[in-house]
């Protein structure tokens, strides 16, 4: 998918481009959990030769890409219920062992979607305020347990409202856990001194990003994201 496919909003990155940004930051030898939705695009963008292992909370340690045609295995699914494979050296575990991995500090990183992220790293991704109920799945356990949480999401809601805010107004998933935010406009680090705008999408300025962000951004040192042609 190329950038130009996004005709109406030419300066926003595609989902694949965001996934490539996240993938570039996943380090060699990390064990990573990917939330359902956008984060599932990440594995195809892991640089060649880098060993990133994926954990799926339904008991798959070493989740591989979707199966080749004819090799589908109905009992081997991801947390998002899509068919996947197991890498050589992967293992199956039951649900409590899987969450022992998640809560026990063995996940070097979790990449999750979000409805809202606050300046202090509060993550809100399980229920919208107007909903009576939500689908929590493993989000609260994984967010509380991973060594670092990355968020991957669109920068604003469809209505153009800021999803990155000074203080959360949505129901909490886990407090103060988000380390980095990857959106279609920018890469933002969550630090003890507040949000730091690290990079913007090509064609955007720091001011463009600040304008649709509900919390002050430190813009002292902003790079431009290098996207694939």
């Amino acid at each position: 998918m190329s950038e130009t496919s996004n005709l109406l909003t030419p300066h926003l990155m595609t989902r694949d481009q965001i996934a490539a940004c996240v993938a570039a930051d996943l380090e060699d030898n990390w064990l990573v959990n990917l939330g359902i939705g956008m984060p599932t695009l990440i594995p195809s963008f892991i640089p060649q030769g880098r060993d990133v292992m994926f954990h799926s909370e339904n008991g798959v340690v070493g989740m591989g890409p979707p199966p080749a045609p004819g090799e589908e295995e109905q009992d081997l699914v991801s947390a998002g219920k899509g068919l996947v494979t197991l890498i050589p050296g992967g293992a199956y575990v039951h649900h409590t062992d899987s969450f022992a991995i998640a809560r026990g500090g063995r996940l070097d990183c979790a990449v999750l979607g979000a409805f809202q992220v606050a300046g202090n790293g509060d993550l809100c991704n399980w229920r919208l305020p107007h909903q009576k109920s939500g689908s929590v799945g493993g989000a609260m356990d994984i967010a509380a347990g991973a060594k670092r949480v990355f968020v991957m999401m669109t920068h604003t809601t469809r209505e153009g409202d800021a999803k990155i805010v000074a203080e959360r107004s949505y129901p909490l998933t886990a407090g103060g856990v988000v380390r980095k935010i990857y959106t279609d406009m920018a890469v933002i680090a969550v630090t003890t001194n507040g949000l730091v705008l690290e990079a913007v999408a090509p064609g955007l300025t720091a001011e463009d990003v600040q304008a649709v962000t509900g919390a002050p951004l430190d813009t002292a040192n902003v790079a431009t994201i290098a996207v694939a042609a």
């Binding site: 699914v77 969450f99 809560r103 609260m140 356990d141 129901p171």
Partner: protein, 229 residues
């Protein structure tokens, strides 16, 4: 040796009574005991409290049990999925009670029951709606929610192979909640694709020891979803 084998589905589920708390294993489609669920359905029991990660898919299995009005309360992590439309209809009509539990906490609450423990402290859900009213303990500077055991009358479990003592092995990611739910009920009923002779399962690879299994029913060739057979 006690005969744990039930030759008919009717016999297999004959201990499931009105008002029982029933654990139903599976995550997505893998590992769902679809035969046993149909057996429970056919008994026409009422007022069940069912514990299941998902809220049913389409109109068969758990969705059928829901649709026929057998369930008065669902304890669940991920109820709001497109394919769980039968549950949504019941919920919107006020015909079913819902308790949302984070996935790791749900698994751990059942293990806690099975292990004869009285509760556990988890960092999951601290500060969220799902911890409301639950005691919080600070241990070494971190807050934890006290969660209580979730014990059930009945567990419905899907296995790959079973031996006459009830020892079980599972198949890929269909393992998921099955070994945990098998521990957590007063009476555990298994559907397995294949029965093997005593001693045919290597004692090193048994995942669930037969001491946790009360009854089993042989379904014949392993498949996901009954319609695929």
């Amino acid at each position: 040796m006690k005969n744990k084998r039930a030759d008919t589905l009717e016999d297999a589920v004959d201990q499931v009574q009105d008002g029982a708390t029933v654990l139903v294993a599976g995550f997505g489609e893998p590992g769902v005991p679809e035969f046993l669920i149909d057996g429970v359905c056919d008994r026409g029991v009422r007022g069940l409290t069912v514990v299941s990660n998902n809220a049913g898919t389409g109109r068969s299995g758990l969705a059928r049990l829901l649709g026929e009005g057998c369930i008065s309360k669902l304890i669940c992590t991920f109820p709001w999925a497109k394919e769980s439309f039968v549950f949504k209809e019941l919920y919107d009509a006020g015909k079913i009670e819902l308790e949302i539990v984070p996935q790791g906490t749900l698994a751990e609450r059942m293990r806690t029951a099975g292990a004869g423990l009285g509760g556990f402290l988890t960092p999951t859900a601290v500060g969220t709606d799902l911890a409301e009213g639950k005691p919080v303990h600070n241990i070494d500077g971190r807050d934890y929610v006290l969660e209580l055991p979730l014990r059930a009358d009945i567990a419905l479990v899907k296995a790959y192979k079973v031996d006459p003592r009830g020892n079980l092995i599972f198949h890929k990611a269909a393992r998921n909640f099955n070994p945990i739910m098998a521990m957590a009920a007063d009476y555990t009923i298994v559907e397995a694709a294949e029965e093997v002779a005593l001693g045919a399962l290597d004692p090193e690879v048994i995942v669930t020891a037969g001491v946790f299994v009360d009854r089993y029913y042989i379904t014949g060739p392993y498949a996901i979803g009954k319609e695929k057979q």
